[in-house]
Symmetry: C2
Subunit: 406 residues, 2 copies
């Protein structure tokens, strides 16, 4: 079997941890597998380097930032390869460039364009464990790029796809994907299996186990991904194609996101193109709008438009909206940033009706007011007051029976 194993920052956070990783790699090799290892920088290293950059420059160039940050992964790549070789398994360390990871030239958040696997395949053919620096690539013009936060997950999945690997294991410091945050619900249960679609909804909703782009990539190329801990031998959670078993379960997980601000434009004149104008301007400022609600007001000639943005962007969004509201003759703009978004996710919703209603009813029964709703095929999200977050997560987890074995 050809296995790609990715180890995150805490998994390679010290030389002791790197030796533990090497032991796991060697044991996988000794079980008869070919292994490609993708590593992150030691935990804390990237933040240290960012701190350095901020101290020498008020506005570091993205290109030089990438050269700086790509160093961290090179260090762990070399050390991991040395540690594997020390245990008697031949190994070679490759930078992103040497591993053939070609990206576009958007520094600090480059996209992988293709992977030239020649060097990796050659090394695998020679019986070597191949260790690759995650998070980084190189442009056609030989410039060094990085893939953005969490980019090592993407490196691993992309390499697995390019090599047509049988499995991509993402090693981290948690045991897998849970039905919800175990810090809020003690009965939260680790999922054995979850579909790509569900994982995407959970990840983008704030369950930060696996980078969103890497899940999209895995889905596109049908790479089976296992999320598991490098600190124990528990089996982890398999992220894979949707199957019949999954559809029997109505809800797979409850997610929450406290980083929500709601902006409401009051009494917007009811003319065509007004809403488009607002959202275009906000998109141009690189602010991602999430939930959108429009209520026609009593007089029928104007409407209130509400939308949510990440709390960190609320100021920027407010400034833009305020200006537009003045121009279009709206009555005013109101912001609330004491809100949270609660979501239930599950592919079973496609075949089970009444799920949304059960959610609304449950929240209402516990006196939690719903301020906006958004739904997709496999997700229902409600905007509520942030102070009810933990309560809402707990009652929904209980209502949909998530603590029980599937």
């Amino acid at each position: 079997m050809l296995v790609v194993q990715k180890y995150g920052g805490t998994s390679v956070g010290s030389t002791e941890r790197i030796k533990a990783v090497a032991e796991r790699v060697v044991s996988t090799v000794r079980q008869g597998n070919n292994v490609v290892v993708v590593v992150s920088a030691m935990s804390g290293e990237t933040d240290k380097l960012i701190g350095f950059a901020q101290r020498v420059s008020s506005n570091p160039a993205d290109r030089e930032m990438d050269l700086l940050l790509s160093s961290g992964e090179r260090i762990t790549t070399a050390l991991t390869s040395m540690a594997i070789a020390d245990l008697g398994v031949k190994s070679v360390a490759l930078t992103g460039r040497q591993a053939g990871i070609i990206t576009n030239a958007v520094f600090t958040k480059a996209k992988i364009e293709r992977i030239n696997t020649d060097k990796v395949n050659k090394a695998l053919g020679e019986g070597k464990a191949v260790v690759i620096a995650g998070f980084q690539g190189v442009t056609e013009d030989d410039e060094i790029t990085t893939l953005g936060r969490g980019g090592s997950d993407l490196s691993a999945v992309a390499v697995a796809a390019a090599l047509k690997a049988d499995l991509c294991e993402i090693y981290t410091d948690v045991d897998g994907v849970y039905t919800t945050d175990p810090n809020i619900v003690a009965e939260a249960r680790k999922l054995e299996k979850i579909s790509y679609e569900e994982m995407l909804e959970l990840a983008s909703l704030g369950a930060k186990v696996l980078q969103t782009r890497s899940v999209e990539f895995a889905m596109k190329y049908d790479v089976p991904v296992v999320v598991r801990s490098s600190f124990n031998n528990n089996p982890g959670t398999l992220v894979t194609r949707e199957d019949q078993d999954m559809e029997k379960v109505v809800v797979s997980g409850v997610a929450y996101d406290k980083n929500q601000a709601k902006i409401t434009v009051l009494q917007v004149p009811d003319k065509p193109g007004i809403a488009a104008g607002i959202f275009n301007s906000i998109a141009e400022a690189n602010v991602v709008v999430d939930v959108i609600v429009q209520n026609v007001s009593v007089d029928g000639r104007s409407a209130d438009i509400s939308f949510t943005v990440p709390k960190t962007d609320s100021r920027k969004a407010l400034e833009i909206t305020q200006k537009l509201a003045d121009d279009m003759g709206a009555k005013g703009v109101v912001v609330r940033d004491d809100l949270a978004k609660i979501s239930i996710v599950g592919v079973g919703m496609r075949t089970h009706s009444g799920v949304a209603a059960r959610m609304f009813e449950t929240l209402s029964k516990h006196g939690i007011n719903i301020m906006a709703i958004s739904t997709s095929e496999i997700k229902v999200s409600c905007l509520i007051e942030a102070k009810y977050t933990e309560l809402a997560v707990r009652v929904l987890h209980d209502q949909f029976g998530l603590e029980k074995q599937q």
Copy 2:
């Protein structure tokens, strides 16, 4: 003027130091110069990385060691470029590979084979200060190499030669090259100017201001090198071609080396090829032999052969010699490692006679016994008991009037 400036580890040892370096670069640019900067890793960084490697592996592969160690320079390169840009001068950071530094494939001590200056020249043409990672290069096969300890000096001189730069400034934490160690002789004086040949003798004799290979390179390509401090604005020492002025001075400096062990093979039978056998075997073990003395013993049929090796290699050299001595029927092998080598260096010796005699006389007058002598055109070295090192340096410095302005 095109200036190459190299900054060593202490000069870029913190973000504050990097900002100070950036200010110096910017001021050089504002004086109307084109500037190429070569930087080392932050002081302590390389040792930290070596420590990591030793903790994960009992015998780290050279190839992976180079990947590991080359990271340190990349960090300072990116940071220095950012700091320069922050002061309003356009700047670009280049890795050894991006700067076109092509080496052979001898990992950990690669030799520069050629430099492709296209990218550097293009950036200079665009008015940018170019920052290059020292100590590293890349093979034709795209493997990352390092140039050995002190290799950043060599990077700087080689880049200066390739660009036909007008000057190569080596910034360090001392003011320049001194007539001797100021810790031993308070009157030691900074030299304004010194020839490449003298610098080579001083460097290889233990005055560790400038890496030996970089001086050889500067001499070969006639690159004027200035050694100066990045912590003040003192003018430093110019290392350049020998000129008439220099020849007026008999002795330029007094060097010492306490890392000396003397191995003596007693009563070696007087047959052809015996000495060659010993020195070949030692050379094969990568031990550098320095002074060699052979005394024919009283009976005329055997000789004592003595030679010195670095103290750190004395054990290895002894094992080899012992075995050979047994095979050839010599009487035995004796080692002394309480010795030091004192040397006087000066191009003036070429035109002044009696310099060696004055040295021997001075040592003898102070009761210092000479155990072996070796000479070159511009150098006389004596092996003495290590306990007399400081005394010998002081009396020779005084005897040749080195404290006086040239």
